[in-house]
């Protein structure tokens, strides 16, 4: 039995005992205190159910505000022990217990025996999109080669005529194994058919990379990036780097405030972590990067493990194996709660570097976005707030109105009794006094004093 099960059983027992305590206490104050305890235990159960916000509200509103109100009224009325001994309705306790027992047995027994039979929550259908990162030339040398990807399997989908550096929209497909066929606009395949597996509930980006040289037998490669999209820590973003460049391994670093790569001589270490010694027994010093490293060991076609990085603006740089910066990303903004795919591809169109090597292009900056938003943690205040203030804005306002009406209702209910009649009587006296005075002067008698005498109930007998 795991810790959670033990905790649940303990909490459930505590909650039921507290409820019994509330039910059986002679003193109303004790009942209220038992109920507060019960609410606190249920708040912990809410925490176990991934409902942090509801647990907080439970403690603050229920166990706090509402129960304090109860205790206040009990104290105000002195109603701690107002239960008179049972006189009427003698059969009620037995009847109530029977009814409740019948309810529990009729509903609980099937539940215990066969469970709720809830269907397994199905994952959402996988989503997939295509990024064309293969900077390839056609036979005639034209660079802008559009490709079409056809997926066939449980369903079929095509991403038609995708240009280089283009990011398509997401398509939703049923989960399953697909065959991916990559062709040119004229239908000629540019890659051997490959298999592609789409799992339920995943968001995938298919990345095309590599070179195309049919004579040399190189084809466009098809890679898949699976986005996690699970919540990240506060004020961070998740990133994945994907380097479609020859050579390597490449390293993605944060240049820091000085905006240049910092190198420091450090002893070389082997894979086991031991220092490598030269023939004289001295450690071999090599240049190592002293800047913060985001991702390292990036090679062609390999997707780096997702890493989290604090949101902000950075000068990032891609550094090759010789510790030379091949790409600088100036003032690169990393937004919180996003999942970024940094896709580096060779840029053959741009002027080559001085040494003749091609420039590197980051696909994220080409207008198409490879950044996906990450939702808030399930049950967190932010997640509840997002739902409350988008889908449920009208109900929220109505509930506010209801609270206002309740407030007005309480004020009206508890206006000091008799004040209304008293005030009305005062007004009547003020208005009628002068009139009565006039009548009194006319008749020579005090009308108010006379009134009982005018119609004396004691002198009812009349006639005989």
């Amino acid at each position: 039995m795991g810790f959670e099960v033990v905790l649940f059983l303990a909490l459930a027992l505590a909650a039921i005992l507290m409820a019994f305590g509330m039910l059986l206490s002679e003193n109303a104050v004790h009942s209220a205190l038992f109920l507060i305890g019960n609410f606190a235990v249920v708040a912990v159960l809410f925490l176990m159910l991934d409902a942090a916000f509801i647990a907080m509200v439970q403690i603050a509103v229920y166990a706090g505000a509402i129960m304090v109100l109860f205790l206040f009224v009990i104290m105000l009325l002195g109603a701690e022990k107002s239960e008179a001994p049972q006189q009427r309705f003698r059969s009620i306790p037995a009847l109530a217990t029977t009814l409740v027992a019948a309810l529990l047995v009729s509903l609980g027994l099937p539940l215990l025996l066969s469970g709720l039979n809830l269907p397994e929550p199905e994952g959402a259908a996988p989503q997939v999109r295509l990024v064309h990162g293969a900077n390839i030339a056609d036979a005639d040398g034209a660079r802008d080669l559009r490709l079409t990807l056809t997926l066939s399997g449980p369903a079929s989908a095509t991403f038609e005529n995708v240009a280089f550096a283009e990011v398509t929209n997401f398509q939703t497909l049923p989960a399953g194994d697909y065959q991916a066929l990559l062709t040119r606009a004229d239908g000629a395949p540019v890659a051997p058919p490959s298999r592609l597996s789409l799992e339920a509930g995943t968001t995938n980006t298919i990345v095309l990379y590599g070179a195309l040289d049919l004579n040399a037998g190189t084809f466009v490669q098809i890679g898949t990036v699976q986005h996690t999209l699970s919540p990240v820590r506060d004020n961070t973003a998740r990133m994945q780097a994907l380097v479609e460049l020859d050579g390597g391994p490449y390293t993605l670093i944060d240049l820091g405030p000085n905006r240049t790569i910092d190198l420091r001589k450090r002893p070389q270490v082997d894979e086991a972590g031991n220092e490598v010694l030269d023939a004289n027994g001295q450690p071999i010093l090599v240049d190592t990067i002293d800047d913060p490293i985001l991702a390292s060991g990036l090679t062609m076609g390999q997707i780096s493990a997702p890493f989290e990085f604090r949101a902000g603006k950075y000068w990032l740089a891609l550094v090759n194996a010789q510790n030379r910066v091949v790409k600088v990303m100036e003032d690169y903004e990393i937004k919180r709660d996003t999942e970024k795919t940094l896709l580096f591809v060779p840029d053959y169109e741009a002027e080559p570097n001085v040494d003749g090597s091609f420039r590197v292009r980051l696909l994220d900056r080409s207008g198409a976005t490879l950044t996906l938003p990450i939702g808030a943690t399930f049950g967190s205040p932010r997640a509840v707030g997002q739902v409350l203030f988008t889908d449920y804005l009208l109900p929220v306002n109505l509930v506010g109105l209801l609270l206002l009406i309740a407030l007005v209702g309480v004020v009206i209910l508890n206006r000091p009794e008799g004040e209304k009649q008293e005030r009305r009587a005062n007004i009547r006296r003020k208005v009628s006094r002068p009139l009565i005075n006039v009548i009194s002067q006319q008749t020579g008698r005090d009308v108010l004093e006379d009134q009982p005498r005018l119609n004396p109930p004691s002198q009812a007998p009349s006639g005989d």
Binding site: G2, V5, F8, A12, I16, A19, M22, L23, A32, L35, N38, V42, L45, F46, A51, F53, I54, V57, Q58, Y62, A65, I66, L69, F70, V73, I74, L77, A79, S82, A84, Q87, F89, I92, A96, T97, L99, V100, L103, L104, L111, L112, G115, L116, P121, G123, G201, F378, G379, A383, V384, V387, P395, V399, L402, A406, L407, V410, L413, N414, E417
Partner: protein, 106 residues
């Protein structure tokens, strides 16, 4: 979405919620103190909330929790009005024993 199989099944929470609801219902039927009847109603509402939150986790949907939030708000309004009623009744009748209040005469 929380697709991992939880350690404590949803059924366990539903059964606990049923037991708490039944205890609340017994309180409503058995207690004579109007305030205690009210507190029992709160217990029943809270048991319902527990079931809703359990189902919210089962389906990985926020709607269940949002609904619980609304129930809590309505319960707060209900308690305010209800306790005001009890105070008013106590002022006129000098008792809040519901057996003595069973006639609705003025």
């Amino acid at each position: 979405m929380n697709l991992a199989v939880p350690a404590v099944p949803t059924e366990a929470f539903i059964i606990l919620s049923m037991v708490l609801f039944s205890l609340g219902a017994m309180g409503v039927m058995l207690r004579k103190n109007a305030i205690l009847v009210f507190m029992s109603v709160e217990l029943m509402l809270n048991a319902g909330n527990l079931a809703l939150v359990a189902f919210a986790r089962q389906w990985g949907e926020m709607q269940g929790q949002v609904f619980v939030f609304f129930i809590m708000t309505v319960a707060a309004a209900e308690v305010a009005v209800g306790l005001a009623l009890i105070v008013t009744i106590f002022r006129t009748k000098k008792t809040i024993n519901i057996d003595d209040l069973h006639k609705m005469e003025g």
